[in-house]
Amino acid sequence: MAFTITCPICGPRSGYEFRYGGEDKGPRPDPAQMTPEAWCDYVHMTDSRPGVQKEWWYHRAGCGTWFTIYRDTTTNLEVAPDSPETVA
């Protein structure tokens, strides 16, 4: 967590102030079409790809907002949303 995270409300802050909310998987899919296995995958499985990923963070010790950032999991540093690597 030795990195800073840019909160949309509070600006760049120490990573210790935030709670990780997992990779961004988009809004919940329609469960009616899903088998229990597929639902379980949606809830529990992650891509865990090396490189830039979009992910959720919560400003726990701050404004209490959930938001997404891009982070390079290989350098553990935040990547600006407009940089070319963020295009998955």
């Binding site: 120490s14 909310g21 809830v43 959720w56 726990r60």
Partner: protein
Amino acid sequence: MIRLNHLPTLRIKPGAPRSFRYGRRRLQGVDGDTVATALFANGVRVFGRSLKYHRPRGLYSLDGESSNTLVNVDGVPNVCAETTLLAEGMRVSSQNAFPGPDFDLLGFMDALSWAMPAGFYYRVLHKPARLWPLAVPFIRKMAGVGTLSADFQAPGRRDEIYPAADVCVIGAGVAGMSAALAAAEAGLRVVLFESRPWPGGAFEYRPGTARDGVAYYRKTAELAAAVQASPHIRLFLNAPVIGVYSDGLVTAFQRGRPPHPFDERYIEVRAASVVAATGCSERPLLFDHNERPGVMQAGCAHRLARTWGILPGRTAVFSVGHDLGLEAAVDLFDLGVEIAAVAELRQDGLDRALVDALAQRRIPLLRGWSVTKAHGRHRVTRVTLAGPNGRFRKTIDCDLLVASAGFTPVTGPLTLAGARLAFDAHTGFFLPASLPPRVHAAGRLTGRQDWHAVAVSGRLAGLSAVHDSGIDRTAAIGESIDELASLPGPARGTQFVLAPGSGKKAFICFDEDATVKNVDQAMDKGFDVPELIKRFASVGTGPGQGGIPGHNLPLYVHQSGASPDGHPRPTTVRVPLTPTFLATYAGTRLDMSKRTPLHALQVADGGRMERLGVWHRARRFSEDERSREEILAVRTAVGMLDASTLGKFRIFGPDAVKVLDRVYVGDMTRVPRTRAKYSAMCNEDGCLADDGVIVCTGDNDYYFTTSTGRAGMTVEWIRYHTRFDDWDFGIVNLTDAYGVINLAGPEARTVLQRVTDADVSNEAFPYMGYREFAVDEIPVRAMRLGFVGELSFELHVPASWMVHVWNRLMAAGGDLGIRPFGLEAQNTLRLEKCHVIIGSESEQRTTLHDVGLGFLWHRDKPWAKTVGDTALRQTEHQPGRLKLVGFRMADPTAPLPGDGSVIVDRRIRGYVCTARYSFTLKEPVGLALVDDALSAEGSSLAIHEDGCGGRLARAVVTETPFYDPEGLRLRM
């Protein structure tokens, strides 16, 4: 020993003695001494014995580069004597030596060194396997330094601080101070770390003169005065850096001394920019017996005299490879040390003025020569020097050998910050080839040795840091670059590491007793990368954190031709850069906890307070661990529980009800204004996360409670599960704004009616009703609930009025036998009623169905996308789950099974959640989570308890709830 007390560079107060004990001896040092210099001044030369071979070890450097001077100070083992300031009354003793460092019974180990080649442990002791258990106790006894008992508690006061800074400068030498001043001029906040007890680095003790004719120590002192006068610079002295991380995070610790209110404190800074100005350490020269007491680095010998007023020896031989060594020889001669000879590794490139100074003093200078061996059993008595081709040899008597091959940049902080190093042949240094953004390097670690060049490089780094922060410094940076170009560039350095000789006893790593020969053995085994050789031969893995072998190992490996790509490559540096006490990381150990508004009253009433999560709560109000009197009061009269720890929230706004429908399993679209609705929250697995009560307090305005442990994360939970919906709602955590009194028992209504004008009759305020009324004009939110299974009112009162309302109720119920009850009583009462507590009757994998609360789930609200809805659907009839059941003991007189005891047949089939003796039913009852095959009424359960010796207790699954199954008492 008499100190030189007239030197302007002294850091001691010769007139302020400090007495201390060393083993059984009473010794005296002076204020400003480190433990090492005080011992040295008292004639101590052998400080301890080495790890493997028990070789005598002495003072070699002064900044903790090796474990040579680890001692026990006031019961704390492995304290570095070089970096610990002496204090009055200290008790110092040596380590790893019996009976003492001067004569050690295990000294014979040195003669057995041939039997312990590199990788000894890995290669020799693991086969045959049955030998290993025999070898372990022996190795344990022999290996390691210092002893520590398992119940040792680190003495001293610890602290921690997190200062804010724009720029963090590591190292308060000339470059670091110049950088800090450049940043401070722009008004930026600067944190400056210095590991020594004073600023100044490599120049503060030197009497030599800079180009403008002013002595180094004077110029450095002026710079230090400017730093200390700057309101923008916070200088931490005695503060070694532990680690540097991404995005400007720097951690350090500071050793305190009076009047500091701490003995050691942890420091963490997040700076916008980092400047590394860590300077150089000396590169050890490798030759046989290069770590004999009496061998020391040039800076060590020089600083002993200049800083502490101690002459390092009577007769000295120098074998050096840099001008600083020549400067030390000249200065020590002037201070009274006889210099028998100066062997200089370099043939040319020597400072002319220093060569002349040596000649004037008739000190023989042997160019191209080097020491090859130190003689003497416990300390140096003689040295052998060899000429350029290794043929000519000289042996000279002396008691001090100053040996130093050159400089090694201290690159640890830079590499941790993400810099890539590349070997530079001119300086012989690993220099930063690329730096991450907002990280700058300055000073001697870049190879520059000239005072002015070092200062300007520091200023340049400081200006660059200012520029990083958005203040334009393009012009000033340009000027500094030009000025730097006009000053002497990086000085040429030697790549010389190993003197001609066998290398059998040339120690490349003092901490781990690793010799050059051990490195050769590792290379013979096929290891070709320093990173691997380091591990196999244990080079640089000791307390000195690679301070001695640091760059010598990669250079030696490179010179041997073993490295696969022909480039020397440094080994990886890791935190902590300086060994740090775990107690220092632990810091102040502040125990953050909360007290309810009634805390003092509860204590005054005899409440046995207990820590539950963040809260202090009353477990019971008597000696009786089963709280019989409290339970009977609630069942037969009336009692009051402080339930203020419940999570309490207001949620409001046009979309508030959508939010509630999303997180609660029930249907929230119809919560009438006068009713309280009980519901539960699940996670996406359908597992129980929370339960609580929701009331509607106005249009689109709701108030709800959560269990105590969930209060802290409810806002986060709700916002998370609505993050894709652009809903309009607000949520306020009122947990600390309201207190809660649970007034329960058949007489509860009588008591309540006495304190309010509102009609609280069963008709006007029925079970599960919600009312707002006043008690002495205090607004109270009242819910008629029944957690403990009796007529009860949950009164939500503004926190500041809690004491008043509590006392009013207490007084009103005095004639009815009202009394406070605690958590123990509540637990038994609700158990009789089979009301679950999340976390007691549920765990990570327990669904709403499993605990029998499936009726709370409203399955027909797909629009709400309720969290857990899908999983509840999928697990509704899933076989093989653990189900919550009630049980009674087959033999009612059997002892009560403990909470958590397992239920077994051939395998574990479940466990007891809660079991208590029921005074109402006069027998033990309990709740258990058991395999659904065992959950039918009448099933027999076998309970195994720790220590039951195989005698299983028998229980029978029975109908629930145990008490008042019709629920009549709740509705009375």
